[in-house]
């Protein structure tokens, strides 16, 4: 009887797929020069989706995997949902099976480096961050190796393996009860990042930032011309524009970019791209539904050109709004539409020219995070620090400054785009899931923005 019921259910399941992930991660934390934690985590699990009519069923299982049982459970959930609350059928956009190409090459496998050597490296980084005036430091090392295997009812079968290596350093300086922090981090795909990147220079920079911020003042806030550095402008590209271009939010009516494909929404100087094929922190060869990754021009010379899609959202909104390939998941979670490596493309202005054109305003540098409301198209980001700009020249260092405003207004107020694109790695949270991403930009000059201060 049970089998008969199952057979009947499976007849109504149009599509199912599963992702198996297995791997391990290691982290070492050095706190004030002392090992605080060495930990290793082994993990194996799977996320399984089934589609019935317009409803998805999803199961996630860990440990010893029974994939067939998982498919049955997901199918039952989808079937019950569709029966209880039937709705318009989901049509998945048709895609070709992925070709895996151009995986990041690795020269030094972090697993071949002893834990003692890693600890030694962290201690050296720590000592460089401890510049005069710094009284507390934290250095973190992480490596992870993951194998991702994908299979679908359409016969797609593919897999890849990635090794991530990275480090983060933070320094805190204090004086008369005032505390200020500086942070730097980098991620890459092999232990050679520690040879290719000036990690000691970065550590010193984190320490110097903390110390110099002690002496900085909090300026008066208000509306003024601003110059954004690559990191803060990258955060703007990701948070304010990138999220609003995610087609699931567009479909929910939670995006200020809904129904605007083909419209001039930004200064013609602005081109914004999402490219998971770049060997930056948001790299993947195929996404969480087996779609080969590809470059998307979200905004092309100021015109909204494409949303970021999953197969479902591309099926709903149609080809002219973009193609799938941006479905991502943290671990065994249900995939959602996500960004990868998102950046504002290079323009041709030089930093000095931009400073000159801003004339009197503020130079905002770095980011301590931010948030947006994609539906209303408003955002708020806190800069790590800034400089007042007076008569086209950098003046006093300032702290506790933030940038907020309307996404579309800022995009239209861009007057110059620099030629010095730089990417920054990070983790993006959406729907309770974290995904590795990178974002970046050249310097941006903006004629008018709201700066928060004292």
């Amino acid at each position: 009887m049970q089998e008969l019921i199952m057979e009947e259910i499976m007849q109504d399941i149009k599509f199912y797929d599963c992702r198996v992930i297995e791997g391990s991660s290691t982290s070492v934390i050095l706190d004030n020069g002392k090992i605080e934690e060495i930990s290793r985590n082994f993990t194996r699990g799977a996320g399984i989706r089934a589609l019935c009519g317009g409803s998805w069923g999803y199961t996630a299982v860990e440990g010893e995997l029974d994939l067939e049982g998982g498919v049955r459970d997901a199918a039952k959930l989808a079937f019950a949902m569709n029966k209880n609350t039937p709705k318009e059928e989901v049509e998945l956009a048709v895609v070709d099976p992925p070709v895996i190409r151009n995986l990041p090459g690795i020269k030094i496998d972090p697993r071949d480096v002893s834990i003692e050597e890693k600890v030694e490296l962290l201690k050296n980084i720590e000592s460089r961050a401890r510049v005069e005036g710094v009284h507390s430091t934290k250095v973190m090392f992480s490596e992870s190796e993951f194998k991702i295997m994908y299979r679908s009812s359409e016969g797609v079968e593919c897999e890849y393996e990635l090794l991530n290596t990275g480090f983060a350093v933070s320094a805190v300086a204090t004086e008369n009860g005032v505390y200020q922090a500086g942070r730097e981090s980098r991620f890459g795909y092999g232990y050679e990042i520690f040879e290719n990147i000036d990690v000691f220079g970065l550590a010193e920079k984190a320490g110097m930032t903390a110390v110099e911020l002690l002496g900085a003042k909090t300026p008066k806030g208000g509306t003024m011309p601003v110059l954004l550095d690559q990191e803060l402008a990258g955060v703007f590209a990701h948070e304010a524009v990138g999220h609003a271009s995610e087609a699931d939010l567009v479909l929910e009516g939670d995006s200020v970019l809904a129904n605007r494909i083909g419209e001039q929404i930004a200064s013609p100087l602005i081109t914004i791209i999402d490219d998971p094929t770049l060997h930056e922190f948001g790299y993947y060869p195929f996404d969480a539904e087996g779609v080969e990754s590809s470059r998307t021009e979200i905004i092309k010379s100021g015109v909204l050109n494409s949303y970021l899609h999953s197969r479902e959202t591309a099926g709903k909104l149609g080809e002219e709004t973009g193609t799938p390939g941006n479905s991502r998941a943290q671990g065994y979670s249900m995939p959602v539409v996500r960004m990868s490596n998102t950046f504002i493309d290079n323009g041709d202005s030089k930093f000095e020219e931009m400073l000159e054109s801003v004339r009197d305003g503020m130079y905002l540098i770095g980011s301590r995070g931010g948030q947006v409301n994609t539906g209303e198209g408003i955002f708020q980001f806190n800069a790590e620090k800034g400089y007042l700009i007076r008569n086209g020249e950098l003046a006093e260092l300032v702290r506790d400054v933030s940038l907020s405003g309307k996404t579309l207004e800022i995009l239209n107020h861009v007057t110059q785009v620099g030629n010095d694109l730089k990417m920054t790695a990070g983790r993006c949270g959406k729907g309770g899931q974290l995904a590795p991403v990178s974002d970046g930009s050249p310097h941006l000059a903006i004629s008018l923005a709201l700066v928060g201060g004292a």
Binding site: I35, E37, I38, S39, R40, N41, F42, T43, R44, G45, G54, S55, W56, G57, Y58, T59, A60, V61, E62, G63, E64, L77, A80, M81, N84, T85, K87, E88, I115, E116, S136, V172, T174, G177, Y179, Q180, A181, T218, G221, G222, L251, E252, G253, D254, Y332, M334, R368, G369, N373, G375, E376, Q380, F381, N382, D400, S402, S404, L450, G453, A454
Partner: protein, 436 residues
């Protein structure tokens, strides 16, 4: 794995651990998600895993796994890691077998036994609630129920098991006509006592009443923070300074301030792992230390930092039962339990001549957790005039300092709410900087 956990201690000792701790946790959750007003997916998640702490010569190693067949290897790695580290003079010992308090209200059989159809029903209630307010649409939301089981064993005789349940609902809504405005509402509870329809209705009412906002001048004024807004700011800009680990490492704005009057004299704050039906309530913390109620601020005076077993040992004090883990994949660290804000209650808005009322904030996590400085964008904010909410405010930034904010509290409402483990009424703070 549960059965295996009980054998794991022996395996650890055999592998050479002088002390060892096995932390087992399993979670089973079901959620029904909707996009716009259509139910989109049902998710069933089962996870379990074991985290192992092994101590050799006063050094700790940690490893974890979710696979039974990897457990032995995991234990050996934890021991090997401990051997790599030099002796930690601050290490005292794993917690010892304590006397555990009785806690109530954290397990509801109805949640454990809930069928998918019932979950669908509650998700529908969230959606239908929004429809009682014309002119709004839900954008997304979910109903979730979950059950978890936790077992902590260590070689000092700790053996404590806990089972708990929870249900939660959230909904995001947007207005459909005129200028767009949005709002959200959510609730979470240990038992099935949430009015899901009311969550939807309230979110819609809030989105609708927030439309066509006015501009206000930059000024210093009274700000009344809804528990959502207040908890966000305090968790990001104040709570990290109470963490004994931050205090010991020089990363807290509260170093050397025990016994000082830091806040309004009528304000008390408690960290309490024993609150009936609290989201952070359980007999023990995540390393087996009995839960307790810790006065953090009493009548404005700083009484205690918050400790896990390690930071307490380092300072020669008792753990306050704040050993906390996000999952089995990490060793314990100091974390808040139920965090209770206590201030004499009044009819707060009626008591306020002028100012602004702020429902939620965005950007609180960007606060400086040491200095307490924060700058946030207020959402669903309204002017207060002559003791009543007056007009919605279009855009509003609030900046300040969490420590100053605690000094300037001048009122609390009757509307105590459990925002996860954060339990607080609406709070009025005088003399806050706002920029329209």
């Amino acid at each position: 794995m549960y059965e295996l956990a009980k054998k794991a201690l022996e395996m650890a000792e055999k592998a050479g651990a002088e002390e060892a701790e096995i932390y087992y946790v399993s979670n089973h959750s079901t959620s029904v998600n909707f996009k716009k007003d259509a139910l989109e997916s049902a998710k069933d998640r089962f996870s379990e895993g074991i985290g192992v702490r092994a101590i050799v010569n006063g050094a700790v190693g940690f490893a974890s796994t979710n696979s039974a067949k990897d457990l032995e290897n995991t234990i050996e790695i934890a021991v090997a890691e401990a051997r790599v580290r030099e002796n930690d003079p601050d290490w005292v010992a794993l917690p010892s077998n304590g006397k555990y308090p009785e806690v109530v209200g954290i397990f509801d059989k109805r949640i454990e036994a809930m069928k998918l159809e019932e979950c669908i029903g509650y998700a529908m209630e969230l959606v239908e609630g929004t429809k009682e307010v014309p002119g709004t649409l839900p954008t997304s939301g979910a109903f979730t129920r979950g059950k978890s089981r936790q077992l902590i064993l260590n070689t000092n005789g700790v053996e404590i098991e806990d089972e708990s349940t929870a249900v939660s609902g959230f909904v995001d809504v947007i207005t459909v006509n005129g200028e767009t405005s949005t709002a959200y509402d959510f609730d979470v509870s240990r038992s099935l006592d949430i009015d899901f329809r009311a969550i939807g209705t309230h979110a819609s009412e809030l989105a609708l009443s927030s439309g066509n906002g006015i501009k206000i001048e930059a000024q210093k004024t009274n700000v009344v923070f809804h528990p959502f807004a207040f908890s966000d700011i305090l968790e990001a800009a104040f709570a990290p300074s109470l963490d004994a680990d931050n205090v010991q490492k020089g990363r807290s704005g509260l170093i050397g301030k025990l016994g000082e009057e830091l806040a309004a004299p009528e304000l008390s704050i408690y960290d309490d792992g024993l609150v009936e039906a609290g989201i952070e309530t359980s007999a023990s913390d995540d390393e087996g230390v009995p839960s307790q109620r810790t006065p953090v601020l009493e009548k404005g005076v700083l009484k205690s930092y918050l400790y896990d077993s390690y930071t307490a040992g380092k300072e020669g004090v008792k753990s306050t039962g704040n050993g906390s883990r996000g999952s089995y994949t990490s060793p314990p660290a100091v974390g808040l339990r139920n965090f209770i804000i206590d201030y004499p209650q009044t009819d707060l808005i009626a008591d306020t001549d002028s100012g602004v009322f702020v429902n939620t904030v965005i950007g609180a996590h960007t606060a400086n957790s040491i200095s307490g400085d924060f700058s946030v964008e207020a959402r669903n904010a309204f002017t207060i005039r002559d003791g009543a909410l007056d007009k919605p405010i279009k855009s509003l930034m609030i900046s300040g300092n969490a420590f100053d904010l605690l000094k300037n509290i001048t009122g609390a409402g009757f509307d105590v709410r459990k925002v996860g483990g954060f339990i607080s009424p609406s709070i009025r703070v005088s003399d806050m900087s706002v920029i329209g």
